[in-house]
Amino acid sequence: MFDTSELVINMGPQHPSTHGVLRVILRLDGEKVVDAEVVIGYLHRGIEKLSENRNWTQIVLLTDRMDYVAAATSNVGYCETVEKLLNVEVPRRAQYVRTILMELQRIASHCLWVGTHAMDIGAMTVFLYAFRERELILDLFEEFCGARLTYNSMRIGGLPQDIPPGWDKKVLAFCDIMDGKIDEYETLLTHNRIWLERTKGIGVISGPEAIGLGLCGPALRGSGVARDVRKDEPYSAYAEMDFDVPVGVQGDTYDRYLVRMEEFRQSLRIIRQATQGIPEGPIVGKVPRLIKPAAGETYHAIESPKGELGYFIVSDGKSTNPYRFRVRPPSFCNLQGLPRLVRGHLVADVVALIGSIDIVLGEVDR
């Protein structure tokens, strides 16, 4: 009866809630999203290519620049992959410190996520609360390695330096502070009527479909799939830690939110165990002075705050740089699910969903 046409809207690459230079082309019917196309690559720096032309130790620095809100995790993932290729055993003390750093990093990353996610939905206070606590973690990192964002905090075979004296006490003190702060975020959001209305039933995805789409991390666990690399393929000191893997039921934005909120607590639990149990001993394993792994290839995955962060490295055994360096970026794979999630929802939900899958464009584009 009426002649209606779709409205095409370009969300990004400059848009306040695309978390960087993500561009989403939305086809709208009124405010309802008919289809979405994700355009990425605006931050492509060719880290994979670059790494194939740098020596093994220099690459640690490059991995910082991928998921820059969880740089330590990327460092560890790379170092462990090379250690696997080198067949080097990492001392337990280093394993424990790595675990602490990675879990601190997870909390920092989740802080940033809860802040921006809430901000996207309009709750601005949570953003600043979360950043307040993230600051404490950055202080801890600064004390450990001198940097606050891109740490370069790992060496192949172990740690660059031992933890400063008294650092573990400060970590424990931070855990005590953080406990109350998580409750504070939850007070503002978890049972808030508007928050519930904005997140429940938004972007529902079933477990099998999420697996098929290659979603990982909290996005996958929100759909009820208990897939966590820390549990399934333990690395570092996770095999010795006691923690739970929270899973959602519905697979909607609210469940993904709850999963991450519970991960805060689980991370604190791991940090407490690891900090109290740091063994004495060396911090670097027996690593050759010139790192040159034997020819061969391997894939090693760790659980970054965003999901399964995998490194596939091929060494030719001759040169001092990897022959092929490939990162399996969790954000990239999660972002792939975005068009499926937003279809049929409103424009306002698009920003909620972008927040809900928690991407970092540095990692998507590399």
Partner: protein, 340 residues
């Protein structure tokens, strides 16, 4: 001659200036209060504790380049900020800041004028303010502002119905449309209408959050969704006008809420002589204090709540607030007919 022209003129000047200063300091208040809520300090650089910040802001906005997009509808684009600012200011004509007082040897009323349709005047002038937003969105010739202005027009019209319904129930209780008479009626009935009409007050408050585009109903300017909404393409002083209009509207709404539901300039328990010492505070101060409380709540809500989604907002308006307002009106009418 003096009574007819000079005194109203002086009053208009005072009210306009006070409003504009108040509005610019509202921005400071909002930034400060939200900062305190969020464990920050807020503006601290300009003047002690940042008290001169609004002046710095004004200077900055005036000096900024005023950009009109090439594809914009030039005339409408220029007119839109003015259209949204003017209604926000002329509403103050009927708001009673205090009763008639004896000043400099003559009786001066602390309001510009008392129209016998005062309340309707406020509602109707406020309804014209919508044009500013709609036209800004249209004239920008850009997609996000257009979406925002569509949202805005639908939202404002919908919530206007609910708000007007609640006003009607207050009118029923007060028996008058004049703002001054409504305050006097609260004096005579010995109770503030907020306690007689709690449902109406709640609906009015929620509705006025929506009508002033404040969180959690700030959809037309949702930064995270529509990149700033209807004023995306605006800069400099024109943007400032939209900004000021929003705050002026907040002050209007707080003043109306104070007048209708919380006794306007009356001190608490005006009929209890034991509390006579409260009369030390002048009547207009009581008015300002009460309005301030509302403004504070406005800011507080913004710092606390997430944003509604467009369809949820509409559902709340049409399926909850409007039926509730009508029911409240009917009940008020029945009670009024049965008891008085």
């Amino acid at each position: 001659m003096i009574d007819q022209f000079l005194i109203p003129l002086i009053k208009i000047l005072i009210v306009l200036n006070a409003t504009l200063v108040g509005v610019s300091y509202m921005t400071l208040l909002e930034r400060k209060v939200i900062a305190w809520v969020q464990s920050r300090l807020g503006p601290m650089r300009v003047g002690p504790q940042g008290v001169l910040q609004p002046i710095a802001d004004a200077v900055k906005l005036m000096l900024k380049e005023d950009i009109t997009p090439t594809k914009a509808d030039r005339w409408v684009f220029t007119a839109a900020p003015v259209i949204s600012m003017v209604p926000a200011l002329i509403v103050y004509a009927v708001i009673p800041f205090g009763p008639t007082v004896h000043l400099f040897g003559r009786d001066v009323s602390l309001y510009i004028t008392d129209v016998n349709v005062g309340l309707l005047y406020i509602v109707s002038v406020a309804s014209v303010g919508v044009y500013g937003i709609i036209l800004a969105g249209y004239a920008s010739n850009s997609k996000f502002p257009l979406l925002a202005s569509l949202r805005a027009s639908a939202q404002l019209i919908s919530y206007e119905i609910a708000v007007t319904m609640t006003l009607v129930s207050v009118i029923l209780v007060a028996g008058s449309l004049s703002m001054v008479s409504i305050v006097n009626a609260q004096y005579n009935s010995r109770v503030w209408f907020g306690f007689v009409q709690p449902v109406a007050f709640v609906i009015f408050f929620i509705g006025s959050l929506a009508e002033t585009n404040r969180a959690p109903f700030d959809l037309p300017e949702a930064e995270q969704e529509l990149t700033g909404g209807f004023h995306t393409e605006y800069s400099g002083m024109r943007f400032a006008l939209f900004f000021l209009a929003e705050y002026a509207n907040m002050i209007v709404v707080s003043s109306v809420a104070t007048t209708l539901f919380f006794g306007g300039w009356l001190r608490p328990f005006p009929n209890v002589s034991a509390l006579h010492f409260l009369g030390v505070v002048p009547s207009w101060m009581w008015f300002l204090i009460k309005s301030f409380v509302f403004l504070y709540i406005f800011i507080w809500v913004r710092a606390t709540l997430p944003r509604y989604r467009y369809d949820q907002l509409m559902r709340l308006g049409w399926k909850v607030l409007i039926p509730l307002a009508i029911a409240n009106l009917v009940v008020t009418g029945i009670v009024k007919v049965m008891l008085f």
